[in-house]
């Protein structure tokens, strides 16, 4: 039962082969048995899950149908869940029971999805390895000595290990696509503004975007359908109609113009990953796609610009954690400043503190033009590169990451070495474009992802290309040994 995808679950429930309650109980038992090896969950919500599963079964008994009705999922632990701990992977919010549901949580619950729990993540989504969590590192089910990627490492490890079919995640600089690549999943970061950020604990507000992590493009289409849409509560939500993503899956790729940026293949890319990327291009050519070399000349400037913009916005967003209204408060504060400083000094971990300080410095008097404004200008150059490329091609294809998942602890001594691994994913966040990572092979037994990028609001095209690729390849069906 644990091998079933969301699409197969929907068919099984509709055909009464099993009930949502049976499926939910089976997966909860599997999580209890296997997750101690992975640490992918921060909280299990068994009571809520069984209640939602029974309600979904009752709705189906009344003739209702729906792709998510009775489908088990989990939420990355930065989506607020009313009355349930929403920790953001931080000691700061270890005691925080959100007073309301995030829009994404409410929408998926209304569609009948069953929440099994809240998944582990890098603290405040700051990391690429899921090692900065207050609740401990998450392990990669493909090799328990390696990281699963981050920041959505818990969602990725759980879905890859078949603990559940799909989970929500968020992506500020690659946090959906990079863990998808590291764990052999399909993950989609939608266009900025496509999925509501309301109730999603903010890291960098102009970059953050929620999206699905699943084993197939077909399942990403189902989960995205439940997440996407305009929300008046999110001031940056875009009022664009949501297309039928599942209907977009089966279009032909005949004549599809794929752009492959030459800058992606410079030094730093593992040549074995380069070979797998080119093999995926050959596969898409067989399906009718045509390939063209393109150039994204400002790609290399994206990382430094990102490491100004994201920390600057984080330093502002995280100023709300003051030990007064919610979250961690230090013991016996001497005065108000001591309360603020010690609550934040004790409540935040080292990576979060570093990014807050980089941001505070970049925004401090006399440095704003040299850092934040300069980074925003580079952000436009990065966007302009894409706009020029998309006049010539329909999608852009390349590696999701320059290397496969590294060993736990390998990059802990030098934060910058981990930052550089985000080189291919960060540009889509700066430009606000949709991006998808899909399984494309293995190196040393570790999964490799191929990234597809499309123009604004063309999530359907990304899902179409990935689905067609998955109809003709079987990388995405491989299961890690022991799971």
């Amino acid at each position: 039962m644990h091998q079933l995808t969301l699409a197969e679950i929907a068919r099984g429930l509709a055909d009464k082969k099993f009930s949502s309650e049976e499926l939910t109980k089976a997966l909860l038992a599997r999580i209890t048995q296997l997750d101690p090896q992975l640490n992918s969950f921060i909280s299990l919500t068994e009571d809520l899950a069984l209640q939602q599963a029974k309600a979904a079964d009752a709705r189906r008994a009344n003739g209702e149908n729906g792709a998510l009705l009775g489908a088990p999922i989990a939420h990355k632990d930065l989506f607020c869940t009313q009355g349930i701990r929403t920790s953001c992977g931080s000691k700061m919010l270890d005691n925080f029971k959100a007073p309301y549901d995030a829009t994404v949580v409410a929408k998926l619950a209304a569609a009948g999805a069953v929440t099994l729990g809240k998944t582990n993540m890098d603290e405040f989504a700051m990391g690429s390895a899921n090692e900065s969590s207050y609740y401990g590192a998450v392990k990669n089910p493909w090799n328990l000595e390696h990281v699963p990627g981050g920041s959505s490492g818990g969602s990725a490890a759980a879905v890859a290990a078949r603990l559940l079919p799909a989970a929500t995640a968020t992506d500020t600089g690659g946090s959906i696509r990079q863990p998808a690549a590291f764990t052999n999943l399909t993950g989609l970061k939608p266009t900025y503004g496509r999925v509501s950020r309301w109730g999603m604990i903010a890291y960098a507000s102009s970059l953050d975007q929620g999206g699905p992590l699943a084993r197939t493009a077909e399942d990403c289409a189902i989960l995205l359908q439940g997440m996407a849409g305009f929300d008046a509560n999110d001031s940056t939500s875009i009022d664009e109609p949501v297309p039928d993503y599942s209907a977009s899956l089966n279009g032909s790729l005949q004549g599809l113009r794929i752009g492959v940026p030459k800058e992606y293949f410079s030094a730093g890319l593992d040549p074995r990953i380069a070979d797998l990327v080119m093999a995926s291009v050959e596969e898409l050519k067989k399906l009718g796609a045509v390939v063209k070399e393109i150039s994204l000349p400002n790609m290399q400037h994206a990382i430094p610009a990102y490491y100004v913009i994201a920390p600057a916005e984080a330093s502002s967003n995280l100023s709300r954690f003051d030990g007064v209204r919610f979250g961690y408060r230090c013991e016996n504060p001497k005065n108000l400043i001591d309360l603020y400083k010690r609550s934040r000094g004790e409540g935040f971990g080292p990576e979060v503190q570093r990014r807050i300080m980089v941001g505070a410095y970049a925004l401090s008097a006399g440095y704003y033009d040299a850092y934040y404004l300069k980074a925003q200008k580079i952000r436009r150059l990065v966007k302009n590169d894409f706009m020029a490329a998309f006049t010539e091609v329909d999608i852009i294809l390349g590696p999701t990451t320059p290397n496969p998942a590294w060993k736990l602890g390998a990059k802990n001594s030098d934060p910058v070495s981990a930052y550089l691994e985000d080189v291919y994913t960060i540009t889509a966040n700066l430009a606000g474009l949709p991006g998808l990572s899909m399984p494309a092979g293995f190196v040393d037994g570790l999964p490799v992802g191929v990234q597809l990028l499309a123009p604004y609001f063309q999530e359907g095209r990304l899902l179409n290309v990935a689905h067609q690729y998955q109809q003709n390849t079987d990388w995405h069906t491989r299961t890690p040994t022991g799971f």
């Binding site: 925080f96 007073p99 309301y100 266009t191 900025y192 503004g193 102009s206 008046a232 001031s235 940056t236 875009i238 400037h301 990382i303 430094p304 610009a305 490491y307 100004v308 330093s315 100023s319 007064v324 209204r325 919610f326 979250g327 005065n335 108000l336 001591d338 309360l339 603020y340 400083k341 010690r342 934040r344 000094g345 935040f348 503190q353 570093r354 807050i356 300080m357 980089v358 941001g359 505070a360 410095y361 970049a362 401090s364 850092y371 404004l373 300069k374 980074a375 925003q376 200008k377 580079i378 952000r379 436009r380 150059l381 966007k383 030098d414 934060p415 910058v416 930052y419 606000g432 604004y456």
Partner: protein
């Protein structure tokens, strides 16, 4: 320009972060490493380029000036570290 320990102390103060003295040397070195990466931006020619704040260049939406929120005071105060008589408690500010 590399940050000195005193610069890091000042930044930590601005960010209201209480740091342990023992951690300052490696925090200083990590921040200098990050700022070294960030400084690669300065080599990029951005003359005449307008800054981009919102990827889709959307502006803030306005709504009708009517009350849409209900009172959540009890729910919000129930998760606060210290409240009394409907007020959030902090250490004494004025003597």
């Amino acid at each position: 320009m590399a940050l000195e320990r005193s610069d890091v102390e000042k930044i930590a103060h601005l960010a209201c972060l209480g740091l342990n003295d023992a951690d300052l040397p490696h925090i200083t070195s990590a921040l200098n490493s990050i700022l070294g990466l960030v400084d690669e931006m300065q080599a990029v020619n951005t003359d005449g380029i307008e800054p981009l704040a919102h990827p889709l260049e959307a502006s803030q939406r306005l709504r009708a000036d009517v009350v849409t929120e209900t009172d959540h005071r009890e729910a919000y105060q129930s998760i606060a570290p210290a409240v009394e008589n409907g007020l959030y408690l902090v250490p004494k500010v004025i003597d």
